[in-house]
């Protein structure tokens, strides 16, 4: 039976929902032990223990783990995976996992499956290539410890279970001093997290300016949605980079995705393919976003949004 070490993502003492989604992938592979690397990580470990599928949580608590630096975490993950004798190490395919997991794979002299969409067998997976315009089935070698990252948009969060045991362990790994955390600047705010929100409203080049983007925020607040953007909107400085949805930004799977003034470049579509219902509003009836939209409305977003606001 395959055994998986799942790397928990957390920040500010809270378990990130991406861990729950990666759990859904990990438990399709085998028995799952969750690893929490943190400084004062008890609350995160306790939360991880209630993720359905966790058989054990190991907590590696040390000052060096205060920030999620790949160079610091990777040698510890490698040592822990070897100590536990697991067959797989899985993390979420968020920027945290994208940064970290390949480093783990290289230190293990192993291979990695990026962006797992589905587990067909413990060593057989589906993953997207070419911005999701093709899906490949890949078979990984069975010698060594296989590393993978789970595409969070492809897996549903797991439910809760009665807490499994949490064990504090120390990992004997030499840590480098060549990488130091300086600071983190987030847009923050009270809006729902883009990657977890059931509803997302997003704006593109058609919004026109940073000031105009206010209308997108208003629409989102009206229906309690997270806010996203196309690359064009981010590049034009209308909104911060962490709002970008697409091949190289965030890949999301809300129940409702409403986009305004987005033309629908294939790179953007790559980020929303798993959305339940895509609503597109665009002035240009030829916009390619309408090819994938479940509901399309040809119209000016500056007329449509105020109308929606008054009617909702």
């Amino acid at each position: 039976m395959a055994s998986v070490l799942l790397i928990a993502q957390h920040l500010g003492g809270e378990l990130n929902n991406s861990t729950s989604k990666a759990m859904a992938c990990a438990k399709d592979i085998g028995d799952v032990t969750v690893a929490v690397f943190a400084e004062s990580g008890q609350s995160v470990a306790d939360a991880a223990a209630t993720l359905d599928g966790a058989t054990k949580v190991v907590l590696v608590d040390r000052a060096e783990n205060a920030e999620p630096l790949a160079a610091i975490l990777a040698p510890q993950i490698v040592k822990l995976a070897q100590d536990l004798g697991v067959s797989h190490v899985i993390g979420p395919n968020t920027t945290f996992g994208k940064d970290l997991m390949p480093r783990v794979a290289a230190l293990l002299d192993s291979v990695m499956v990026t962006d797992i969409m589905a587990v067909e067998a413990p060593y057989t997976f589906q993953r997207p290539i070419y911005a999701g315009n093709a899906v490949v089935t890949v078979e990984a070698p069975q010698d060594g410890i296989l590393v993978g990252s789970a595409r969070t948009a492809s897996f549903k969060s797991v439910g809760e279970q009665a807490a499994c045991p949490v064990e504090a362990v120390s990992v004997d790994a030499e840590l480098p001093s060549h990488t130091r955390f300086v600071k983190r600047e987030g847009a923050g705010g009270d809006r729902p997290d883009l990657q977890a929100a059931p509803k997302v409203v997003s704006g593109g080049r058609g919004v026109g300016s940073e000031e105009n983007f206010e209308i997108i925020y208003r629409m989102a607040d009206k229906i309690g949605a997270g806010v996203g953007a196309s690359r064009a909107a981010v590049d034009s400085g209308f909104c911060p980079n962490d709002m970008q949805v697409g091949q190289t930004g965030k890949v999301i799977a809300p129940e409702l995705y409403m986009c305004f003034g987005i033309s629908g470049a294939i790179q953007h579509l790559a980020g929303i393919k798993d959305a339940g219902c895509i609503v597109a509003v665009n002035k240009d009836e030829e916009a390619s976003i309408f090819e994938v939209a479940d509901i399309g409305l040809v119209g000016d977003l500056f007329e449509v949004i105020p109308e929606l606001e008054s009617k909702l």
């Binding site: 790949a70 160079a71 990777a74 920027t95 945290f96 994208k98 940064d99 390949p102 480093r103 794979a105 290289a106 230190l107 192993s110 291979v111 990695m112 990026t114 057989t124 290539i129 070419y130 911005a131 999701g132 315009n133 093709a134 899906v135 490949v136 089935t137 890949v138 078979e139 990984a140 070698p141 480098p176 060549h178 990488t179 130091r180 955390f181 300086v182 600071k183 983190r184 600047e185 987030g186 923050g188 990657q195 509803k199 690359r231 911060p240 980079n241 962490d242 091949q247 190289t248 965030k250 393919k273 339940g276 219902c277 895509i278 609503v279 479940d294 509901i295 409305l297 040809v298 009617k311």
Partner: protein
């Protein structure tokens, strides 16, 4: 300071790729290829470092068949001083690419190794991290800004939460994200000049790298199709359609 920058020849980002009917792969013959867009940003960054006097020499490296040389010529037209072509006829997966780049880094001794954060064909996002791990170097992935001073790089990284800044000792691998810079348009004289710049060709044997058994692709399929949608004429129709679906 010496800078190495890796480039990959990929299907152009504007091409709508087609999956072959027999599921054996993606149609790559007869379609436009160009430099991976993230690598273009890496090359641009290297050249800006040279223009700012931070870098004294920039070497472009690639792995691929004979056509990959075209991509090296593009890098040379940007202003790279020379190029190394590691000639391999079969596609190379990230662990092998990382082994090659680590060998080149050991031989050339750069202070900074710039790479695109991912190639837009296989979307793996592995090679930079794997290269730095093999070398025991720090990594700064998804760079949005890079400042080099006193043997250190301060890199603001594009992360899901916003921007995260880290400081790494050099030498380091830095992978580039979209907003690090906007690559310049190449001018004809630079393209002509690039044809005379040196390209060194090496084989995997020369570097002592044996390709590692990687992932076997057993099937390539188009993504699941979404059901055809509907067009509505007014916000009233839109609201009622969403209410029907239980979304409002």
């Amino acid at each position: 300071m010496k800078v190495l920058v890796s480039v990959k020849r990929v299907v152009d980002y504007n091409v709508r790729i087609q999956v072959k009917g027999d599921g054996s792969g993606v149609q790559t013959e007869g379609v436009k290829h160009s430099m991976n867009p993230f690598d273009e940003i890496a090359v641009e960054q290297a050249i800006r470092m040279k223009e700012a006097g931070t870098a004294s020499e920039v070497i472009a490296v690639t792995i691929g068949d004979d056509k990959a040389v075209e991509t090296l010529r593009t890098a040379l037209a940007f202003g790279c001083d020379k190029a190394i072509h590691v000639k391999v006829d079969e596609a190379v997966e990230p662990p092998t690419a990382a082994a090659v780049f680590a060998k080149l880094a050991e031989a050339e001794g750069p202070d900074v190794f710039l790479m695109g954060k991912q190639a837009i064909d296989d979307d793996s996002n592995q090679t930079g991290q794997m290269t730095s791990a093999r070398l025991g170097w720090p990594q700064a992935t998804f760079a949005s800004t890079i400042e080099i001073a006193d043997g250190k790089a301060t890199v603001a990284r594009e992360v899901d939460e916003g921007l995260e800044t880290i400081e790494v000792d050099l030498p380091a691998v830095i992978t580039t994200d979209l907003r690090l810079n906007e690559p310049r348009y190449l001018k004809l004289p630079d393209i002509m000049k690039a044809k005379r710049k040196p390209v060194d060709t090496k084989s995997l044997d020369d570097l002592g790298v044996t390709p590692k058994a990687g992932l076997t692709v057993t099937k390539t399929a188009p993504p699941p199709e979404r059901e055809a949608g509907i067009m509505v004429k007014s916000t009233d129709e839109l609201i009622s359609a969403l209410k029907d679906k239980g979304l409002l």
